[in-house]
Amino acid sequence: MSDKTIQDINEKIADGSVAVVTAEEMPGIVAELGAEGAAREVDIVTTGTFGAMCSSGAFLNLGHSDPPIKMQKVWFNDVEAYTGLAAIDAYMGATQLSETRGMEYGGAHVIEDLVAGKSVDIHATAYGTDCYPRKLLDTTVTIDDINQATMFNPRNGYQKYNVATNCSDRTLYTYMGTLLPDCGNATYSAAGVLSPMYNDPTYQTIGMGSRIFLCGAQGYVTGQGTQHDPTNNFATMMVQGDLKQMDKKYVRGATFHGYGTSLYVGIGIPIPILNADIAQATAITDADITTNVLDYGVARRSRPVLRQVNYEELKSGMIDINGKEVTTSPMSSFHDARAIAEELKDWIKRGEFYPTLPVENLPNSGVVFKPMKQMGEQPTVADVMAKRVTTIRQGLTVEDAAKVIMEGNFNHLPVVSDEDKLAGIITAWDIAKAVAKSKQDKVDDIMTREVVTADASEPIDTAARRLEQHNISAMPVVNKHSKVVGIITSDDISKLVGRR
């Protein structure tokens, strides 16, 4: 059969004969008719996703005040926007936090409020020039009062994303939500079968100039997103659309407890079925899409991969991690992803939306997502820890411990077993308390058994954060056999930071 062109499809939209289905319906159709048959019958497959996309924001042009101001700093509802763009343009980023309300309200919420038609307070300062004499500005506006309000998102619509779980013994608050200790839960993102870029994994129809559903308006892909990584199926795209046309249902500010704010963005991409290959690609199912389960308990750039999992398993609500049944939950809304794919389908059927082919496709190879170039060596715990550390054996008395501490003039004394394994820790304060109660205890009776430890090879920053979180001033450094190889204190760390 001869392939279709985008003009053929658009003519069918105009005369009302276009055949549109969602990416959820397509696997069944391809199974029944084969890819060739499906390509003959179906003209467009619609996709959808609705989830947190941190790398989002909006350009807002406020119009000139009288006398005019060249804003040097500007805040919308106490959330600062970037103003290094002429006089009265600002870029409001989704993850910028309110200076008065903190994580509860951020740039994402300002954008949501604007789309919802709410009024927003603006405060701006400037240094004053001959052409822009004004130094201070306070006003209140709604989206109708300002000129352009353009959503411009540098990195949206991740093709796929990792699943997050937490093998550590502490609850973590991340951009993947609350992660309970000991793999207490697992969270995932992306829409699976409806995921826009998974339905065209070589980006034959997606790229600069593709017209898309963006938050209820017609928007465009403007090119590859930042961190675009096609080799690992972590493709991303940059998108743009008119905030004034958007539907507040699909632009939602969010707060991830302990992390900050983000914007839930609704994106739907129509995939024109030009040939059998494209039809075949849209037949992908949840079972075909796999991703990695990562341990967010390790706060490093490369987190350990615990297993591979597919979206069918994830969506069942339970996955097996190291023999444990772990409850999963999505962070993005499949319900709304479906609503977006359906809405886009309706637009096309009603002749309100005409898909375009890109003027330049997203690159599907040759792009590498590089790690950051960092200057100098990152110091590790091994660089600052005290390597000569005094320990005390289990079974000895508090009095023995008191002597050791006094002789050594330090505060923390790790307690070790006969096999030299770390069993607990006592501080000078523990001893003082025991002595005050004049109890003739063994160290075992007064030691803290749940010891927070460090690893010699970990970066100083993660060790410092752990000290801070547990509100302690020292941690024994242990090797993989639980043997104490050093001790690191917050003093050691501050000295190092002072030097840096």
Binding site: A52, G177, R252, T255, Y264, T328, S329, S333, F334
Partner: protein
């Protein structure tokens, strides 16, 4: 049926719950206990038949009772049906329906607050 028992410091020092169980002979399940120097708050689950007797026995000892009819409230306008709240709930209150909207079996809720913290959209609230 679940209720919250509020007790002041004067009575938290007494074995309040044990006394009530002994007196009424009705078994209670403690879903959640939060006892601070300023007083205590305990979520108690009791079979419907024993509810009146048990709450009366607590009131007699000076405690205040709040029935938990709607322990956790979801604001439908804010909820986007993401389901993030599902995996943090210790008692499996929240689940997806077939159409991927989120449903709650609130009678299983112990008011731990985990879902409230998790919800990115501020859609959940604990009723006090």
């Amino acid at each position: 049926m679940k209720f919250i028992l509020h007790a002041t410091t004067e009575i938290t020092s007494k074995p309040l719950i044990a006394e009530v169980v002994l007196e009424t002979g009705i078994l209670l399940n403690i879903d959640r206990a939060d006892v601070k120097p300023s007083g205590g708050e305990v979520v108690i689950d009791v079979h419907q038949d024993g509810y009146d007797t048990v709450t009366a026995a607590f009131k007699k000892r000076g405690a205040t009772i709040t029935p938990l009819e709607q322990p956790v409230i979801k604001d439908e306008d804010e909820c986007v049906n993401c389901g993030a709240c599902i995996s943090v709930c210790p008692t499996g209150v929240i689940s997806f329906k077939d159409d991927w909207t989120v449903q709650m079996e609130v009678d299983k809720c112990v008011q731990c607050g985990a879902c409230v913290t998790m919800c990115p959209h501020g859609a959940l609230k604990i009723d006090k």
